[in-house]
């Protein structure tokens, strides 16, 4: 049996008490569904002398509001709840898709949306057993002093592997955080730092309380995910786009890429050619080609990083076509892939 190290397990009944418990116990970590934390801790990828469970907090999983005015998702809502919620499935479709694409049904019944936003960045040299990591001499992220992906790099290049994080950016979501010193609200984009180790701006005692989705009466969105198997796997690439419409024209276009860096990578500034237009096949393909630029996959996840880079424009094209109501797989960039030629 692969067992957890000895630790204390606290179960506060309020968010305030949870934040205080983490602040009081050095090294303490928050746990909700545990589907990311528990396997990582079993493999001793970090230490946690104290775990503070969020599962004893009542009302932490509510989904409220309506698309016309905006919605708030309690951070403790399970990925299954988010994936199957009717209003989310229609008005904030990319988020429901992303939640539904996470791993397996079992994991989606346990894992929470708040936890998925905070998935510990992954790397072939980090998400391994203690014995494996010892054999390769450890890496920067845990117990070592060099990055095994980029040996001269002063920083860790572990990959942001959350499905919901790029969607949160694309939807313009905001997060409420509650820490021992009080509550604050900010853009989801501000949660993330471009570093594989210190990957958020969140303090240890900050609890994500709610995810605020802006009013979206005329928004369409889509999330496309690349992975080896159609279930189980983390993304090796994710493309999230959200388009706001007025009179059949794109009014605002936002997008972000997952698993393309240590944080979700914003590409909204590269989608502006869509604004004021009724996007057709060619415009979408051109925009997708340009929008892949900030993706910097390295050789530290499944599949070759050359292929992941090449597929970035394809995935962006599929997501944009999907959000425009076009057949996602009928675009010019998909036609250039082997699967596109077979189709």
């Amino acid at each position: 049996m692969l067992r957890l190290p000895p630790l204390r397990y606290l179960r506060p009944t309020s968010v305030e008490a949870a934040a205080e418990a983490v602040a009081e116990h050095p090294g303490a970590m928050l746990i909700a569904g545990g589907t990311d934390l528990v396997p990582n801790l079993k493999r001793r990828q970090f230490d946690a002398p104290v775990l503070v469970s969020l599962r004893g907090i009542a009302g932490f999983d509510g989904i409220q509001g309506e698309p016309g005015r905006g919605m708030v998702i309690g951070a403790g809502a399970t990925l299954d709840q988010v994936a199957t919620h009717p209003a989310l499935q229609t008005a904030y479709r990319a988020l429901a898709q992303a939640a539904g694409f996470v791993s397996t049904p079992q994991i989606r019944h346990m894992g929470t949306i708040g936890g998925n936003l905070l998935v510990d960045p992954r790397c072939n040299y980090y998400n391994q057993s203690a014995a494996w990591r010892q054999a390769v001499g450890y890496c920067l992220k845990r117990d070592g002093d060099i990055c095994l992906v980029a040996r001269s790099s002063p920083r860790c290049w572990a990959v942001s592997s959350s499905d919901s994080a790029p969607v949160a950016l694309a939807l313009g979501a905001e997060l409420t955080l509650r820490g021992a010193e009080g509550e604050r609200r900010g853009a989801a984009a501000d949660l993330y730092r471009d570093d594989g180790i210190v990957y958020t701006t969140k303090r240890a005692d900050d609890v994500i309380v709610g995810i605020h989705l802006p009013a979206a009466p005329a928004m369409t969105s889509a999330y496309w995910k690349l992975r080896r198997r159609g279930s189980f796997d983390f993304p090796v690439l994710g493309a999230a786009v959200a388009l706001d419409w007025a009179d059949g024209m794109v009014r605002v276009a936002r997008g972000a890429l997952g698993a393309a860096g240590s944080r979700p990578v914003e590409v909204s500034h590269l989608l502006t050619p869509l604004v004021g237009r009724r996007p057709d096949d060619e415009l979408i393909a051109q925009v997708a080609e340009a929008a892949e630029k900030p993706a910097r996959p390295l050789d530290n996840t499944d599949f070759s990083h050359y292929w992941r880079k090449r597929m970035t424009r394809v995935l962006i094209e599929r997501a944009l076509r999907d959000a425009c109501g076009l057949d996602p797989l009928a675009g010019r960039l998909t036609a250039q892939t082997r699967s596109g030629q077979a189709a």
Partner: protein, 155 residues
């Protein structure tokens, strides 16, 4: 350091003194003797350790006992009614839907969760529901057929 935990497993309340970091999988197998729940990867990647919590498929290898207090845990041992096996157990046996049998408890429990919410699921819905449970004998076809047969007998 051990803590007192009250779990309701297969309709029976039990009180245990266990370390709070002992997973529900370890407790089921080692403290309660319910070895029908198998341990596979123990990292959430195979679902062999699947149980039902309030009727929903859960992974016992990632669940900690204090979080399941007040919830209804069902393991494969809780499926038969006395000496009468669950319809899914009957059809899995009839169609030979188990080869090595290691994933079978989790397959059956996961299928039960599906049939409880969708008594006549499509083949696609069955595939979706069972997508998390790995069978390394590659016997999925018979498994799908056994679920369909159980559904058809349900009337």
């Amino acid at each position: 350091m051990k803590v007192a935990v009250r779990l309701r497993v297969n309709g029976q309340d039990t009180e245990l003194l266990v370390p709070p970091y002992k997973t529900v999988l370890e407790i089921l197998r080692e403290d309660l003797g319910l070895t029908g729940t198998k341990h596979g990867c123990e990292l959430g990647e195979c679902s062999t350790c699947g149980i039902l919590v309030d009727g929903k498929p859960f992974l016992s290898c990632l669940a900690l006992p204090l979080d399941l207090e007040g919830h209804e845990i069902t393991t494969i041992e809780g499926l038969a009614e006395g000496s009468r096996p669950h319809p899914l157990q009957v059809t899995f046996a009839e169609l030979g839907a188990a080869q090595c049998g290691y994933c079978t408890p989790s397959m059956i429990l996961t299928a039960k969760a599906l049939l409880d919410t969708d008594p006549h699921p499509s083949r696609a819905a069955i595939q979706q529901a069972l997508a998390g449970v790995l069978c390394r004998c590659t016997g999925y076809l018979k498994i799908f057929e056994a679920v369909e047969l159980a559904a058809s007998r349900h009337g």
